[in-house]
């Protein structure tokens, strides 16, 4: 599984990345988390409000700092 966190380095994106890391660890799944800060890539996903979460190429959340539980819920699906 590939999780991408989209955002231009604001504090919210860092918080979201940290939450995602905890979620992945607690679920004990094999997922690679990467941060995307390149504007071109963010607009390619057609995301307008950051931070956003992309799982395997699909945008699952925009403009929200998801809690670790919310991330878990998305990942389990």
């Amino acid at each position: 599984m590939k999780i991408e966190i989209l955002g231009v380095g604001c504090p919210k994106c860092k918080q979201l990345t940290a939450n995602a890391e905890i979620a992945v660890k607690e679920l004990n799944i094999n997922a690679e988390i990467s941060k995307v800060t390149d504007i071109g890539k963010i607009t390619e996903y057609d995301v307008m409000i950051t931070p956003a979460v992309v799982v395997d190429g699909v945008v699952v959340s925009t403009g929200k700092v998801l809690s670790k539980d919310e991330i878990k819920e998305i990942l389990v699906k």
Binding site: T43, Y45, D46, M48, I49, V65
Partner: protein, 316 residues
């Protein structure tokens, strides 16, 4: 309703005499703080629910369809309703352009969105009254529409960076939103927003109360009164680096108007604080050539300064 309770608390429970500088300042502080936080909680919550009906995707769809001047008008109006944080300025800006929203219309949105927001409006309403907050909304909309029209006319599309016309709307998952989702979103949004601004509000009201109690009336009349022509451009410039503290700046300005700062000058200062922000410029530089950024700041700045002079002339 709040006033008698605060009076009772300060004068009867704490046994402070009427008319002492400290008791007046404390009374002023408590009254404003209670009033503002009550308004903030209720109104941010209501606005957040309304906002769930205007996602950026929907706003963009409306704007890419509207024709001519109406595009700018709608953009400014929708700018009020859309959540905006300066860290989203760039993806929002490019996302609009790539969907075919004209540059001028996108700018109208970009100006209105941070300038006319619910926090600024609540603070204005609570501290200056509804007339001033309506004037603020009206002139904010006018500046946003005017700036967008001017920038649209200039034909400066080549100054946008990272912009390719190939549009990709492949990946956004749209899910049904229930009423409970909207309530949950509004609750979370209100809590997060209050958490991030409460300290500025307290500091702003505190300083305001101190000025109210301790600074002599007319202290600033000479420096920033109606007679001083350069007060408007100067306060506009001072407003630029103060963005994130908008919540704290308004109570401060409210107290300063009591001490002789002219209303138009105060309005242009508050508009500069919200609409022109240094951190936002730095972020926008990633999507705009410096020249476009300077054009943007100058056009909006001129609009704000004009508004300041106008209301210094007509408001007493």
């Amino acid at each position: 309703m709040i006033k008698p309770i605060i009076d009772w608390l300060v004068y009867d429970i704490l046994k402070m005499g009427h008319g002492s500088l400290f008791s007046e300042a404390l009374n002023f502080f408590l009254y404003d703080a209670v009033k503002i936080f009550f308004l903030l909680t209720v109104i941010i919550f209501v606005v957040a629910i309304i906002r769930t009906f205007f996602s950026p995707e929907r706003t963009r769809a409306i704007l890419s369809k509207s024709q001519g001047y109406w595009g700018n008008v709608f953009a400014a109006l929708l700018g009020i309703m859309t959540p905006f944080c300066s860290c989203s300025a760039v993806p929002l800006f490019l996302g609009f352009l790539e969907a075919g929203v004209p540059l001028g219309v996108t700018f109208s949105f970009l100006v209105a969105s941070p300038m006319i927001n619910e926090v600024a409006l609540i603070m204005l309403w609570g501290l200056f009254g509804w007339k001033i907050s309506l004037i603020y909304i009206g002139s904010g909309l006018a500046i946003a529409i005017f700036s967008g029209l001017v920038i649209g006319r200039l034909k400066v599309e080549e100054l946008v960076e990272h912009f390719d016309h190939k549009k990709q709307t492949c990946c956004t998952q749209s899910t049904g939103v229930t009423f409970n989702d909207r309530i949950a979103y509004a609750k979370g949004y209100t809590r997060d927003l209050l958490k991030s601004i409460w300290m500025y509000v307290i500091i702003g009201i505190g300083l305001g109360a101190w000025i109210h109690g301790y600074v002599p009336a007319d202290f600033l009349a000479k420096v920033a009164g109606r007679g001083n022509w350069f007060a408007v451009p100067l306060t506009t410039l001072i407003g630029i680096p103060l963005y994130s503290n908008a919540a704290g700046v308004i109570p401060l300005v409210s107290a300063l108007t009591e001490k002789g700062v002219a209303m138009g000058t105060a309005l242009s200062f508050m508009m500069a604080v919200t609409a022109l922000s240094l951190p936002e410029f730095i972020i926008l530089r990633k999507a705009m050539k410096l020249k476009l950024l300077i054009i943007f700041a100058s056009v909006v700045g001129i609009g704000i300064i004009f508004t300041g002079y106008l209301f210094n002339l007509i408001l007493k």
